[in-house]
Structures are given as structure tokens and as C-alpha cells.
């Protein structure tokens, strides 16, 4: 039910609306909850509304964290 996916903003369409791209699928969604977003930003889309933004640097930092080696083991 809380399913939401990160999608890239392709164009702003005025009046709280933006065109997003999700793996090649394009759709117009509301950005009334995140009015500050710009073209190129990633937003989290749920039931046709962007509910938040995705911080690209934090995403990379988290991926780096996953790759950490087990404690006491060095490569």
C-alpha cells in the first residue's frame, strides 16, 4: 500500500505538476508536496504524488555502506 518508487523529473508542467520518467515510462504527477523540485531531481512517487525527494549523495553513501567488509576482515 505504501508502495512508492524513485523517478526522475523530466519537465515541470506548471501548477504543481511535473513529468517524471521511471525506467522509460513517463507520467505526469503532482509536486504540490515537494514544490522545490527541479528538472533532473529524483522524487519518490506514491499514488500520483511526489511525497519526497531522493538525495543522490546519500544513496551512494548507503550503497558504499552495504559493501563494507565483515568486522575484522580486511581485503
Amino acid at each position: 500500500m505504501c508502495l512508492a518508487l524513485p523517478a526522475r523529473v523530466v519537465a515541470l508542467r506548471g501548477a504543481d505538476s511535473a513529468l517524471i520518467d521511471l525506467g522509460g515510462v513517463r507520467k505526469e504527477v503532482s509536486i504540490a508536496l515537494v514544490p522545490e523540485v527541479q528538472v533532473g531531481d529524483y522524487v519518490i512517487v506514491h499514488v500520483g504524488y511526489a511525497i519526497g525527494t531522493l538525495d543522490v549523495e546519500e544513496a551512494e553513501a548507503t550503497l558504499a555502506l552495504f559493501a563494507a567488509l565483515p568486522a575484522g576482515i580486511t581485503s
Binding site: M1, C2, P6, L33, G48, V56, T62
Partner: protein, 379 residues
């Protein structure tokens, strides 16, 4: 897809699994509750359980809005659709939730009721605009993730002066449910389960932030790690919980930093608060009446409140006698402990709500996990 596929990487999953295996204390066991159905679904779908040591157990929580919606609320919607002839709009997940007397919204639709599945509250608004001669009611369910779009729909309806649109508001609140699980377990007829920590909500936390969980960590001494809904997110959060338990910490940590901050989406919170306010109490399937755990329409927007507009009252209705959803939603029982599981109760013909949504414990186990229970025998 960018920022999705990377978080499902097999080699990285193995790496995190190795880290968990290295760090668990073999002299003890760990029981963590993932509150959200989204996590339950990810754990079942990606086989996360198979990557965890035997002494780490995941308990599925009540964070599936379809699963916790009581029969009485669906009955209210059925009454509107069948007896009051409204156009009832709702999310697809709700259509097959069992209601009284073997009914469900999808069965009512088959009997001719005008019930429409929508993807978004804005679709329901569009239906109201296109049918000015009909009453259109949006049966709104969901946790804090789904609530701000509902609030925006009401604000928009008010702005354009829509007269035939109203809301049957069944939005529920996550922190109240977690508090209930921690504070009133002994009051439950279902018994209790010991929980060492919580995998905290992903998308709910985008809206409300990480701050609301700080009380659970401080007062109840339970670690909370907010995690994204992808399998690597869940695994990393389990590792973080193991570390907290091993070092005696009980803090709110955030694995989902790419989308969640401490304060959440303030704008979404403010817009929601303009339209909706907290109810004194709300019945949850499995948890019973939980104080201050749901939202209703503010009196300033009374014209958009279906409960006022159609003078609806709520009547509690008991679940199917043999259905174990109540105990399963509290983490006290597993889907396979239920006599109905996989026999009369299947995703095609659900008897209980945990079998309805793909995020429900029973449906997730039926779809992805049930063959794990069968021993492999050489032919």
C-alpha cells in the same frame, strides 16, 4: 531502474548476510518486528529469511492498511454503494477485503454497485467532476504515506467548489500503533511476543520524519532502524539492529537517509493537518480499539466528510471465528499456524484481511514462502 536495482544486488546481499552472520551472538536469539507490510513483502519476495542466521527471527507487524481495516468500515462503504447509490472510489487493494455476510466491494460491484478502482485521489476527483449529478465518495485508506494526497484532494475540491465529493476517511497513524504494541500487549487476548527492536517504516517516515520514533527508543528501550523497502535496505537495517542489541543501545537510526530526515516533509504534514484531525479512537483489525490512532475530517471541511454527509455510524463486526489474522497482526502467530491458511483462505478467495493485500503476512507467505515449508524429498 536507477536507485532501485542497485538496492537489490545479489553480491551485496551476500556481503551484508556475511556481516550479520559474523556479528550475531550465538548465545542469544534476536526477534525484530518489521512494522510495515512493504518490508514483509520484500522479506518474503527476496528470500531475506534464508540469508539470516537461525537465531534472528523476523516478526511481521500490523503495518498493512488493508489488513488492519476492520469489517465494520468496509460495511460502511458497502452501505453507501449498495443502499445510497453513490459512486464509490477506492484503491485496488481494498476491493477484496472480506466484509459482513460474505460480501466484499468486488462482489458488490458484480451485483451492480458503482464501485471504481482508482490509482490516485485525483482520479476520484475527476470522476466527481465528470458526474455532477451523482454523489462520489472516496474510501481513503492508508498510513501517513497516503494521507497527504487525500488531504490535497479535499483542498482542491474545496477550491473548485465541488459539491458532490466526499471522503470516507480510514487513514491510520503509525506511531500510535507501535505505541499500542509496546504499551498494551498484556491487555491483548492474543498473548504477547517479545520484540528486541523494530525495522522502522520507509515511506511513512519520508512524511513524518524519524523524530516520532524517538520516544519508543527512549521510553521503551527498543532500537528502531528506519529502512527503505528494497531487500538490501532491510538486511542492512537488521545488521544495524543486531549491533544496537549487542552493544545495549536503544536508538533511532536511519538506514534510509536517501529519503528520510528527522523532521520529514513539513509541507505534507501541514497540509494534512489543515484538513484532517486525530480521532479519539479507531478500531484496528487485530489490535482492537486504539486511542488516537486514526484521522477524521475537520469540521471546517464537514461537507466533504462522508460520515457526516450520509449520517453514517460505525458498528464493530467480529472476524471469521477460525481466522488468526488478529494474532498474526500482533506477531503472536505465523500464517501457517492458521487452519484456514492455504486451504479455504487463499489470495483468490481471502477469508481474512492478511491474505488480501500482497503486503499481508499470509499473502506474502502464500505467494513466496509456502514451498519452503515443504521438505524436499529425492524421488
Amino acid at each position: 531502474m536507477k536507485y532501485i536495482d542497485e538496492f537489490r544486488d545479489r553480491a551485496l546481499a551476500r556481503r551484508i548476510a556475511d556481516n550479520i552472520a559474523c556479528e550475531v551472538d550465538s548465545s542469544r536469539s534476536y526477534a525484530f518486528m518489521e512494522f510495515c507490510g512493504g518490508h514483509t513483502h520484500a522479506i518474503a519476495r527476496y528470500g531475506v529469511t534464508d540469508l539470516l542466521p537461525d537465531n534472528v527471527r523476523m516478526i511481521h507487524g500490523p503495518g498493512c492498511p488493508v489488513c488492519v481495516l476492520p469489517i465494520g468500515r468496509i460495511d460502511m462503504a458497502l452501505h453507501l454503494a449498495l443502499d445510497r447509490q453513490v459512486i464509490l472510489c477506492t484503491y485496488g487493494d481494498v476491493m477484496r477485503v472480506p466484509a459482513s455476510q460474505g460480501m466484499s466491494l468486488i462482489r458488490a460491484k458484480a451485483r451492480g454497485a458503482d464501485i471504481r478502482m482508482v490509482y490516485s485521489p485525483s482520479d476520484a476527483l475527476q470522476i466527481a467532476r465528470a458526474n455532477p449529478g451523482r454523489e462520489v465518495v472516496f474510501l481513503a485508506i492508508g498510513f501517513e504515506t497516503t494521507t497527504p494526497p487525500t488531504a490535497l484532494a479535499i483542498l482542491q475540491a474545496a477550491r473548485v467548489g465541488l459539491k458532490n465529493f466526499s471522503l470516507l476517511c480510514c487513514h491510520v497513524l503509525t506511531p500510535a500503533a507501535i505505541a499500542h504494541l509496546l504499551e498494551a500487549p498484556q491487555a491483548s487476548q492474543y498473548g504477547t511476543v517479545s520484540i528486541d527492536g523494530f525495522v522502522g517504516p520507509a515511506h511513512v517516515s519520508i512524511v513524518i520524519g524519524s523524530r516520532p520514533y524517538e520516544g519508543f527508543a527512549n521510553h521503551h528501550r527498543k532500537p528502531v532502524v528506519i529502512a527503505g523497502f528494497e531487500p538490501l535496505d532491510v538486511m542492512q537495517s537488521i545488521l544495524m539492529l543486531v549491533r544496537q542489541v549487542n552493544t545495549g543501545r536503544a536508538e533511532v537510526e536511519n538506514e534510509f537517509t536517501r529519503a528520510v530526515c528527522r523532521d520529514g516533509n513539513r509541507r505534507a504534514q501541514d497540509l494534512t493537518a489543515q484538513v484532517l484531525e486525530v480521532r479519539d479512537a479507531f478500531e484496528w483489525r487485530g489490535l482492537g480499539e486504539v486511542p488516537k490512532s486514526a484521522l477524521k475530517v475537520r469540521s471546517a471541511y464537514a461537507g466533504f466528510d462522508a460520515e457526516r454527509r450520509f449520517d453514517l455510524g460505525y458498528e464493530a463486526v467480529a472476524d471469521h471465528k477460525q481466522c488468526e489474522c488478529g494474532a498474526i497482526l500482533r506477531g503472536v502467530k505465523k500464517p501457517t499456524d492458521c487452519k484456514l491458511f492455504g486451504s479455504v483462505c487463499t489470495p483468490d478467495n481471502p477469508m481474512g484481511s492478511c491474505m488480501v493485500s500482497s503486503e499481508g503476512s499470509c499473502a506474502a507467505h502464500y505467494s513466496y514462502g509456502r514451498f519452503r515449508d515443504i521438505a524436499v524429498v529425492a524421488a
